[in-house]
Structures are given as structure tokens and as C-alpha cells.
């Protein structure tokens, strides 16, 4: 059945463009198709684990030579991809008035989501690269979509740095092929195990990790990220911040590190160092920003730092914490970007100095923004608190006491810049000229409320979520 996650969207896009592209009325079905697809993806991940994992459609699978690797991490990623794509879809309907442009956007959104679904299911490093490229190409186009100087510049920067990442990863894949004679995860892991200490292997690991750092927008490879997030249209910013960089960069890093070189102390040390630098550089840079979206972009860099800090702990608990924070980050950062889209559309600006008191006119957006930022800061009992706590505990247990303390200290900086944002944008006296603004339409408000409910629900029902969804992720290290 996993092959359907690739084939339904692919043939769906072809059908949409062959059958539905002709008339404006028919193009509206693209929205329904995309929504159904993303809801199905979440439903499969939440309700049908064993049936989905075990039922193979033999004829289809054998024709396309599809053999996937499905575990708990895959299901968590499916939920993230589905949730963020739905948020992006509704915000596109709210912010893009042109039906034709929205149809093209929906096509590219489905394609990006398809690429990410492929990334999280494959068990071959070259196929992983192919699906990363599909996601990247769709993302370049989505960023460039408004065709303004800023958006083209943002897209071009992403294209160039992504190409550098591609070169690094392809070189690494070539070296790993030499080591193992195959591109499948299992055989590469065996090949690496059999050639410990080889300069080839070290070079291959280094190149691949550097490529993933670029894809994930980690310091010092983060130059493209704030420009791309800021220049992209609102629904694309949600997609990029919520899931694209996480699936292409961070998920891949978790999968590669745990599957191919699980107990490599040198790799873990580099990951922890880069993670800590990213946490602090992102947080400090976010403090000085005036642009709402740019501040959120730097905040993303900082939060991604937490994820890979957990990964660097090298223990089952650390990896569970990293995956949990990845899920939480997808939800709360998508919510913050949804709110920024609403604020930008209503006020016509992203400059925080030109805003103030917006909560009076946008109660739902203001309230959900508070929930999202408190979760980002790690405030109990919201979801972000638990994932950060797990990461801190995992680091402490693994003997990395300094990193553990730094992770706690950085949360205070996060609280500082988010409080400043909340005060400048939502609280205080309503700025002159903003009297006529109003909250978003029902679709976007519904998305905001659902995302906020996920944040609160995951936090309140943490023991259940941890036992059923997060803890089983530890298996990937044991295996």
C-alpha cells in the first residue's frame, strides 16, 4: 500500500492538468483533491498502521520496483506533511485571489508533498536523493511564484545553495557506492561497518552531513533561509518552515545518522556543536529583527538546532526527543506562519514597528499566536515543553551536561524575542490606520484552531502521545 502514497498524487497531478485545467470551475476541484489527499495521508498514519505497512499491492509494486521502508518515524512524518500541507492549502485560498495561479500553486504543493512522502519512505540512498530533488525543484518554483525581484532572489539563493548540497551529497553517494557496492541503506551500513577508519568513509560521511546541514538551514549554512522564507508567498513560507526543510534536511539526517552510522561519536559531537551554535545564532539574530517573517525564519534555525542537538545525544531517548521536537516544531511554526500570513494580508506589511494592538481586531489569531509562541519557548504543559524536556534529559543522561544547560538557557532567549514580538504586534494600543482590519476567513481560522488544539492536546495528553507515537521511534537505533 505505501506505493499508493506516490502513485495517487502523481496520477492525480497528471489528471488535473489533462482534464481539469481547461475550465475555471473544474480547476476548483484541485483544492478538493489536494485536501482529500492530505487528510488521507494523516488518516493512514493515525489509524491504519499495520494494514498500511503490511498490505502490499504486489502487481503495482513489482512493476515500479517499489520497496519501501515504513516505521513509526515515517508515520510521524506523514502526519507533519499532511498537517502543514493542509495549512498551506487553506492559506493559499485565503491569500491568492487568482484562481489560475492557485491551481498552479496546488499542483506544485501536491508535487512537493509527493517528494517529501517519497523521502520518508525510501530505503535507498539514491532514491532518497531523487525525491529530495523533486521536493527542491517544487520549492524553488513555489518561492519564485510571485515573480517579484525579492522572490526570484530568494528562490535563486535557495537554488544555488541547494545545488551545492546536491553536489556534496551526490559525491558522498558515489563514495558510499564504492565502499558498499550498493545504494541500499542496509548494504551501505554493512559496507561502512566493514571499513571503519577508512578515509573514504569519513569523507563520505562528512560530505553527506554538510549537504544535509545546508538543506536543513543550519548555521553556518543558513544564508539562504531567511531570504527564502521572507520572499516566498505566505502559503509557501508555511510549507518551507513547517516541513520542507525538516523532511529534506532534518528527517534525512535522523534517518541517515541512525541507520548508517549509529554509534559514531565524532559524528555526534559535530552534530551537537552545530546544533548548539544554530540555537544561539538563530535566537540572537531573531531578537534584532523588525520583519515578522524574518524573525520567524531565524527562530526556525534556532529550533532546528534543538532537534539536531537531541539527535547528537546518540541515545534512544535523544532521538525520540529530536523526532518529537520535529513534530512539534512543524505544528507550532506552521501556526505562527499562518498567523503572520493573516497579519500581512490584513495590515499590508510585515514590519512589526508598523503594527500594534492587533489582538483587539483579530482575537483568534492573537490567541493562537500566544499558544504557538509559548510552546516554542517550552512553556508547560504545551507540546514544546515536553520535547525540549526530553532533549535536555537525554543530553544530561548521556553525560553532555554543558549542552544540556545551554539548551535550557537558550529557551530564555526564545521567550525574550517572542514576548517582544507578541507585544509589538498583538498587544497594546491599536495602531492608527489598523481600525478596519479583521480576522481571517473561516477556513484559515479553522486551521489555526486545529493547530493550536494539537499543541495543547499533545501537551496535556503527553503520556499517551509519548507511549503510542514517540517512544516506539527509539526502535530505529536498536535496529
Amino acid at each position: 500500500m505505501p506505493s499508493l502514497m506516490i502513485l495517487i498524487p502523481l496520477f492525480g497531478i497528471i489528471a488535473l492538468n489533462l482534464i481539469f485545467a481547461g475550465s475555471v470551475k473544474m480547476r476548483r476541484w484541485a483544492f478538493v483533491f489536494a485536501l482529500a489527499l492530505f487528510v488521507l495521508q494523516i488518516a493512514v498514519a493515525v489509524f491504519y498502521h499495520p494494514a498500511f505497512r503490511n498490505n502490499s499491492l504486489e502487481r503495482i509494486d513489482s512493476f515500479f520496483r517499489m520497496a519501501f521502508f515504513i516505521d513509526h518515524l515515517t508515520f510521524i512524518m506523514f502526519i507533519c506533511i499532511g498537517l502543514v500541507s493542509i495549512a498551506s492549502l487553506f492559506v493559499a485560498r485565503y491569500t491568492m485571489p487568482d484562481e489560475s495561479g492557485r491551481f498552479k500553486f496546488t499542483n506544485l504543493l501536491i508535487l512537493a508533498s509527493l517528494g517529501m512522502s517519497g523521502i520518508v519512505m525510501v530505503k535507498d540512498i539514491f532514491s532518497l536523493y531523487v525525491f529530495m530533488e523533486i521536493t527542491a525543484v517544487a520549492s524553488f518554483l513555489l518561492i519564485a511564484y510571485p515573480k517579484t525581484i525579492e522572490s526570484l532572489e530568494g528562490s535563486f539563493k535557495y537554488l544555488i545553495l541547494s545545488s551545492v548540497a546536491t553536489v556534496l551529497m551526490l559525491s558522498s553517494i558515489g563514495l558510499l557506492l564504492l565502499v558498499s557496492g550498493s545504494t541500499s541503506f542496509t548494504e551501505i551500513a554493512a559496507g561502512i561497518d566493514g571499513s571503519r577508519g577508512s578515509a573514504f568513509v569519513l569523507l563520505a560521511i562528512g560530505l553527506f552531513i554538510c549537504g544535509l546541514f545546508i538543506k536543513g538551514g543550519l548555521v553556518p549554512f543558513h544564508g539562504w533561509l531567511p531570504d527564502a522564507y521572507m520572499a516566498a508567498p505566505a502559503p509557501v513560507s508555511i510549507l518551507l518552515a513547517g516541513i520542507v526543510t525538516k523532511a529534506a534536511g532534518i528527517y534525512t539526517m535522523i534517518r541517515i545518522v541512525t541507520t548508517l552510522f549509529p554509534y559514531n561519536q565524532a559524528v555526534n559531537s559535530v552534530i551537537m556543536l552545530i546544533g548548539t551554535i544554530s540555537i544561539f545564532v538563530g535566537a540572537i539574530a531573531a531578537i534584532g529583527q523588525d520583519n515578522f517573517k524574518r524573525m520567524l525564519a531565524y527562530s526556525s534555525i534556532s529550533q532546528v538546532g534543538y532537534i539536531i542537538l537531541g539527535l547528537g545525544a546518540g541515545t534512544g531517548l535523544g532521538i525520540a526527543g529530536a523526532v518529537f521536537h520535529l513534530f512539534n516544531h512543524s505544528v507550532f511554526k506552521s501556526l505562527l506562519f499562518v498567523n503572520s500570513a493573516v497579519v500581512e494580508k490584513e495590515t499590508g506589511t510585515c514590519s512589526m514597528n508598523e503594527m500594534g494592538g492587533i489582538s483587539q481586531k483579530m482575537p483568534v489569531t492573537g490567541t493562537t499566536s500566544v499558544i504557538a509562541f509559548l510552546s516554542t519557548c517550552g512553556m508547560p504543559p504545551l507540546s514544546g515543553f515536553w520535547s525540549k524536556l526530553i532533549i535536555v534529559v537525554a543530553l544530561w543522561q548521556a553525560g553532555h551536561h554543558v549542552y544540556s544547560a545551554l539548551a535550557v538557557i537558550a529557551s530564555v532567549i526564545t521567550l525574550a524575542y517572542f514576548l517582544s514580538m507578541q507585544r509589538r504586534v498583538f498587544f497594546g494600543k491599536l495602531k492608527a490606520g489598523l481600525e478596519n482590519i479583521k480576522d481571517a476567513d473561516r477556513g484559515v481560522l479553522g486551521v489555526s484552531i486545529i493547530l493550536a488544539a494539537v499543541i495543547v492536546g499533545v501537551g496535556v495528553f503527553f503520556p499517551f502521545v509519548y507511549t503510542t507515537l514517540i517512544s516506539p521511534v527509539k526502535e530505529i537505533l536498536i535496529r
Binding site: V130, V137, A144, L178, S198
Partner: protein
Amino acid sequence: MGLLILTTMAALWTVMARSLLKATIGLAITSAAIAIIIFRLNSPLAAVFELSVCAGLITAIFVSTISLTKPLTHKEILQVSKDRIKRYWYLPVILAIVGALLIFMKARQDFTMIQAPGSPLDVRTMLWDFRRLDLLGQVMILIAGALGVVLLFGENKNDER
């Protein structure tokens, strides 16, 4: 070694060249040199692809696009050239350092222990029988490319009105 140096120098010329046309020629030389390297590594089909697509087709598309753009004046070209050297002077330096490091590492580390895996299969058999999922991925990238052309270069009917 000679081919590697030629590839590197041509690639460097591509990013440092004053005019777009010269950069395109640099890119074509880079691709041609890579094609020869691939050919010498016993992958004739891949070399033919590299030569025909990268050195041939892409160069032709770039040259036709450049012919549609307005050329810069001599003064502007000199200014662009100065700016570029000022901004990217470190590229050749980094390249030289990386090259020196690699030569040093080669002297220190044993890079010869690994043998290239020899596949008895023809590349077409390999692609069709074992990498069909990747071919499907290529179809998706082509669809993305087509959507991109429509998105970026297609005129919006509303704009026309």
C-alpha cells in the same frame, strides 16, 4: 590529472567570466572534459549523455537565450568584471587550498583500498530493471519543470486584459 585540472579551470572561468557567452563556453568545456573523464572510466553511455545534453543541448539553449538579451556596453562589462573579482577573489584561493589539502590527504591516507564495483549489467537493464522508482522520480521532476515553465514564463490571462 590533466583532465581534472582542465575541468576545474574551465569551471572557474565559467563563474568568473566577464560575459555570459564566455561563461557558457566555459560551461560547455567543463561538460566536455567531464564527458571525457566519464568515457575513460568505462561509462560510454553516461559520457554520451553528458556530452549531448550538458555540453550540447544546454549550451544551445543558453546561447539562444543570451542572443535574446541586451548586451552590456564595454564600460559596463569592465565594471561588472571589477565588481566580480572584488566579490569573488577568494574562490581561486579556496580552490587552491582544497586542492592542496586533497593532495596532502592522498599522501597521508590510504585511498586505494576500495575497488569500484563492476556491474555486469548493461546500463539500460540496470535503469529499467532495478531503478524504475528513480525513473518514476525523473518523470516527476519533468512534470515539475513543465509546471515551472508554465508558472514563470506563461502569461496570465488577467494580466493580458
